[in-house]
Symmetry: C2
Subunit: 405 residues, 2 copies
């Protein structure tokens, strides 16, 4: 019998409890032993819950129960998640968490503690929810050298952009719809400003590079400021518009960026819509490998946490190497990266734009006299920034995702 | 040190040797130990090969070398692959193979021998080449109950259909192109008749159901007989045309089919083109999960074989459960399955078709007076077959893939 404790009984924590019950036999088969929830840490009474008997407000009950071998952290945030996860490991229990904030900020230290105790720290649910992207990198393709990862990692933003594209909504309207449908939080800042994507990208980049990457190293733009006109332009270019996390490994170092991108129709990420997430990996021998699925939600995320529990159970007595290290990342000079861009300005500045972006191609916008739009030649981020500074009516600048990555 | 032997030095076997060398450090890190090729079984001299020193024509050299712990079978076919793999296991060595014919026909027995000896029999390369679909089912999502798998599993057919769609080629022309580009074998029968897809589907279905499914239980149609007109019709319906392997698990049993399908634009498989493969799984908690990548080719397939070697190395002394069992599969009545169909007949039979497929919707074919086409209502396979028997000018009957699966 594998005894599990759950910290936090919200969307994900509750889902883990339910899933372990609903898929009991399958989980037992996968884990090689029955798995049961023995304790659930809460901070307020939840009278009437079927799990009421398992609930405790004292984390010590869990830490000091020698029968508990795996703890699922599903509280979110850093406090008290960080001290609790640390203590959990120090008390000899493996941890499965869906907390990207925690892993982004403290993953390497926690992984080191896990390793030192012969335990595991796993966090499949922290990136792209139900998509088993971390285990693909860590286990299934552990032998592969991946040189890039491009991901649609935030379901809220993808839902908003899909509504803007399909229904011509403004960003504010689409965001309101997302909130009404439960796809966006009351305060969606971390999503729409790109920070959530940057955190997940940093975790992916850490695993790909074997070095320590944190989200504050990721140049980050969100989707605020995008307008319906940008979606129309995307369509005119046979592209979709996606908030991406992009990571490339090159001998010069790691390139990282979170920003809206035009995704060409030939890309496997082009059609990943609504709340779906997708990650495109490129490996030296595998070539392109794409995984798409539900990036969030109670059960997909809980399923990821349970997959970590299963890995812990299968590997009792030894560490499942999670891939986080303390080695410093070698970052490439972001301003030297080459990129093509979609530039949208007021028609009054069309000729200036043509001048500062020499060689840019104008995008035909039939029936839209309010904007002028251009696709630039490949240019460095630095030169693009300098050119943009000369324009006073810039309405948008959106990067193009290059084919094949 | 993990000593590996390779049986067969062709496309895949040679790729395994190269990959183990090129990704040496990464493989060592993944496997927890260095991995080297100690022997390669050949049946003719390959003078000048860098690997000449490792070559042997005597399988006994490999079987009786106690240092060899994993054998990669990359000869293909059943003879001598079957006796060699059996002996290999009986001599206490794990096996990684890309041979779908072998696994389809004899997987359960071989898995039982492996289990009895505490060894592993793994075959990631046998289904969808570089896509880690088997390990996703077996490991990453072992706890998940998948109720369907739909796959584009044959790169040759997908390439042919993509050329027909994009360039309006006939099947024969597209197939010739595929052969010229090395994407189809001189004798492509197993591909275009669907048998290759059926074999891979049987392996997927075995893992999903935990029962023994073999390809002769899969109703199988290939792509022969498809015409450029069918691709035009697909486009008119905003669908792509794909050869699919479809497996559904229901309380009434397992439904299996290999056939060309119309795939709607909303499906994650819609855009999987050229030689790419894709598999769409549906899990009870995960929902839809799609994996796309290279389904064949030297390095993607070798990468899959190497991933199996890594799993064997990581789990020395115990069996990595491959998921094949001897339990009989419970098959649903295939003739009772409901499906919508695209029916194409000569215009002279349009009114008869309208009668026998009551309620079918006519597809507008501007400028194509040579065909009449209809999309039927959902109907059982049996009733559809009866209706088709009444038509004498049937040009094609293509199933529609229902959304959400
Ligand atoms: N929801 C998703 O789709 C999703 C997807 C991927 C990752 N995640 C991650 O999963 C984690 C949990 O997310 P969630 O959506 O499940 O959040 P949630 O619904 O807000 O649940 C968090 C739960 O933790 C409880 N909690 C907080 N501090 C606690 C403490 N000190 N002691 C005991 N319980 C405490 C909260 O209790 P109260 O009810 O009393 O506030 C709440 O029930 C986060 O890190 C999130 O980023 C979520
Ligand atoms: N190629 C792909 O993209 C791909 C993808 C997925 C799976 N697979 C599977 O992988 C397996 C190998 O395919 P492949 O493409 O590598 O075929 P291949 O290029 O024809 O290679 C097979 C090799 O095995 C050798 N061989 C056959 N019988 C032998 C024997 N008795 N003793 C020693 N060597 C023997 C052949 O030798 P000779 O050269 O003397 O004939 C040949 O070199 C097949 O099961 C295939 O279905 C292939």
């Amino acid at each position: 019998m594998i005894n599990v404790a759950i910290l936090g009984f919200g969307t994900v924590g509750g889902g883990v409890a339910e899933l372990l019950e609903a898929n009991r036999d399958r989980v037992a088969q996968a884990a090689g032993d029955r798995v049961r929830v023995k304790h659930i840490l809460v901070r307020r009474d939840l009278p009437g819950s079927r799990y009421a008997e398992l609930m405790t407000r004292d984390v010590g009950t869990i830490l000091n129960d020698p029968e508990v071998s795996v703890v699922c952290e599903a509280m979110g945030g850093l406090d008290p998640a960080l001290p609790y996860v640390r203590s959990t490991l120090e008390h000899g229990k493996s941890v499965a968490t869906s907390n990207k904030e925690l892993i982004d900020a403290h993953g390497p230290e926690l992984a080191a503690i896990a390793r030192a105790h012969g335990l595991s720290l796993l966090f499949e649910g922290s990136v792209a929810g139900g998509i088993p992207i971390l285990s693909t990198i860590r286990d299934a393709c552990a032998h592969e050298r991946f040189d890039s990862a491009v991901g649609i990692l935030n379901g809220t933003c993808n839902y908003v952009l899909t509504r803007m594209e399909r229904e011509g909504l403004s960003l504010e309207e689409a965001l309101r719809q997302a909130q009404e449908n439960g796809y966006a939080e009351r305060n969606p800042d971390a999503d729409v400003q790109g920070h959530d994507t940057a955190r997940k990208l940093a975790i992916l980049a850490s695993l790909l590079s074997g070095t320590r990457v944190s989200s504050d190293q990721v140049p980050c733009e969100g989707i605020m400021g995008l307008e319906a006109a940008d979606l129309r332009l995307a369509r005119a270019l046979r592209c979709s518009l996606k908030l991406l996390g992009v990571c490339r490994l090159a001998p010069t170092g790691l390139s990282l960026r979170t920003a809206p991108y035009l995704v060409p129709a030939a890309s496997p990420l082009y059609g990943v819509s609504d709340v779906y997430n997708g990650v495109l990996l490129h490996g030296s021998t595998l070539g392109d490998l794409t995984l798409c699925g539900r990036g969030a939600g109670r059960f997909p995320t809980a399923s990821a946490v349970v997959s970590d529990v299963v890995q812990c159970a299968r590997n009792r007595g030894r560490t499942v190497e999670c891939g986080l290290t303390g080695r410093d990342a070698k970052l490439a000079d972001a301003s030297a990266a080459e990129v093509r861009n979609l530039i949208r300005v007021a028609p009054s500045e069309a000729s200036l734009a043509r001048e500062v972006f020499a060689g840019a191609e104008e995008v035909a916008l039939d029936g839209d006299p309010q904007d002028s739009a251009f696709v630039t030649r490949p240019m460095t981020e630095r030169r693009c920034g300098e050119a943009l500074a000369k324009l006073s009516t810039l309405r948008s600048r959106i990067r193009l995702l290059e084919a094949g990555a």
